[in-house]
């Protein structure tokens, strides 16, 4: 457990000292969220109706962009090879990295959601639902991104392959995430929230095994 926490702390420290990355990510999230209204037009009721979709698409794209950081630099400088031979199981290492990655990428996005919500004309209750669905849904996004990152880690021209692999897998997260924010049908949003939580728990529990398997192959 101490080794697990040490890896989380290491990744957090590495991420925070390159503070520019987090800022860029938040900026990207907000910019995607503000570009779509330009394309849709400044019709406030329509924007408010589309707001859940915009928030989720922006979060999905921002998350997708940041996934490469999960193993990329560790693979290049050789720390991944050291971690692979560490006494701590590789599955735990992957779990620690996912946790740190979630803190470094998903939390800033969630924190920036109120800004976006304000501009899109979301009401208080919808904003709370948005934050709730993001909190429940982003772990699953991180998990699927981890599979994509682990599978393409050693690839020189893997830049575009990982998003193509990850996006179809992330679609259920998007569906239930926006479903959880829809106030139209009473009861349906609660059900979507539960499914979203289930998806997050299952993927976070199973992904470390798949990703660790791929990372072992990458080292061979």
């Amino acid at each position: 457990m101490r080794a697990f926490l040490a890896i989380v702390a290491r990744d957090l420290r590495l991420g925070l000292r390159q503070g520019g990355d987090i800022l860029t990510l938040v900026l990207f999230f907000v910019i995607v969220g503000t570009v779509l209204p330009f394309a849709i037009g400044p019709d406030r009721p329509q924007l408010a109706r589309l707001a859940p979709a915009i928030v989720w698409v922006a979060a999905l794209l921002a998350q997708l962009l940041s996934n490469e950081r999960l193993f990329g630099s560790d693979f290049e400088d050789g720390s991944l090879a050291i971690l692979r031979h560490a006494p701590l199981p590789l599955e735990m290492v992957v779990g620690a990295k996912m946790l740190a990655h979630w803190v470094l990428t998903a939390l800033p996005i969630i924190a920036a959601t109120p800004v976006l919500a304000l501009m899109l004309g979301m009401e208080g209750e919808t904003l709370l639902r948005a934050i709730g669905s993001l909190v429940l849904g982003t772990p699953a996004l991180v998990a699927f991104g981890t599979v994509g990152a682990a599978v393409t880690v050693g690839l020189k021209r893997g830049g575009l392959v990982a998003p193509v692999l990850v996006l179809p897998l992330s679609l259920p997260v998007l569906i239930f995430g926006t479903g959880a924010m829809a106030p139209m049908v009473p009861g349906a949003s609660g059900q979507a929230l539960l499914l979203l939580a289930a998806l997050g728990l299952v993927s976070v529990a199973l992904v470390p095994f798949a990703a660790a398997m791929a990372l072992r192959f990458a080292g061979e």
Binding site: V151, L160, L167, L171, F217
Partner: protein, 261 residues
């Protein structure tokens, strides 16, 4: 060659499983299967097409458009069957590290993508006259579209690697993770009750389709399955030969470089 020599030392007669799975022996026995399989496929397709165009009545509601079903339903079944083949081969790759499992996986991916595309295409052609729309965002169509994207992503991953032996293991991981989509497709019509009709052939209480429509459908399904089997075998043979040529070329290049030095 070295492996073969070893094999002869230890066991004078290779076992059945070795004969099936050894790449060199595979090329030997599969050569004799291609033509008979192709003939069976052509015969079944001819019979099935005759039944579906002339040997079956038009539907009392949908008229002649019901004939699209004889292509649509087998293609949709095959699109999922291909994934099952890839899933089984992926386990073969991960557990036994068997090169023929790699080859089988790689050969099935484009076939699966083609059947999925055919199912989506015929589905939209059928949807226009009966539902009034080419495309509807309902559960089964969306999840089949996701299946197509997964197939294409897997093909892209295969092509991103230079070393195909290595690629097979990474692709296997993705194949296993992507398999969660298959039950979603199967049960989508039960979970989200939308336009697409629920299962009507394979049911506990027997099929709800009239026999004069069911028989052409089953013949066409058999034809499609045989087509898959034939093409899969041809693609596997091509892949084995391709790898063999590549290793021969590498050996020749190495010899040439050694001679130059």
């Amino acid at each position: 060659m070295k492996d073969l020599a070893l094999l002869e030392d230890n066991a004078p007669k290779p076992g059945l499983w070795t004969q099936i799975a050894h790449p060199g022996l595979f090329l030997g026995w599969s050569r004799h299967l291609i033509v008979p399989l192709a003939v069976i496929t052509a015969a079944l397709a001819a019979w099935g097409l005759y039944l579906s165009f002339w040997g079956s009545p038009p539907d009392y509601q949908m008229g002649d458009t019901v004939r699209i079903m004889y292509v649509h339903v087998p293609a949709a079944w095959l699109s999922q069957f291909c994934y099952a083949v890839m899933f089984a081969s992926a386990i073969g790759t991960l557990v036994w590290r068997h090169p023929m499992a790699d080859v089988s996986q790689k050969a099935a991916a484009p076939l699966g993508a083609a059947f999925t595309l055919l199912a989506l295409f015929t589905g939209s052609l059928w949807g226009r006259p009966t539902w009034g729309t080419f495309w509807e965002w309902d559960g089964r169509m969306t999840s089949t579209l996701v299946l197509l994207f997964i197939y294409l992503g897997i093909i892209a991953l295969w092509r991103a690697f230079d070393d195909q032996l290595k690629a097979a293991r990474f692709v296997s991981v993705v194949t296993l993770v992507g398999a969660i989509n298959i039950p979603v497709i199967k049960f989508s019509v039960d979970w989200w009750q939308t336009l697409h009709q629920p299962a009507s052939v394979i049911r506990l209480d027997g099929p709800t389709i009239a026999p004069e429509i069911l028989i052409p459908l089953l013949v066409m399904t058999a034809a499609f399955s045989m087509l898959f089997l034939t093409l899969h075998l041809v693609r596997m043979r091509t892949e084995v030969i391709k790898r063999r040529i590549r290793s021969l070329e590498l050996a020749a290049a190495r010899a040439a470089a050694g001679g130059a030095l």
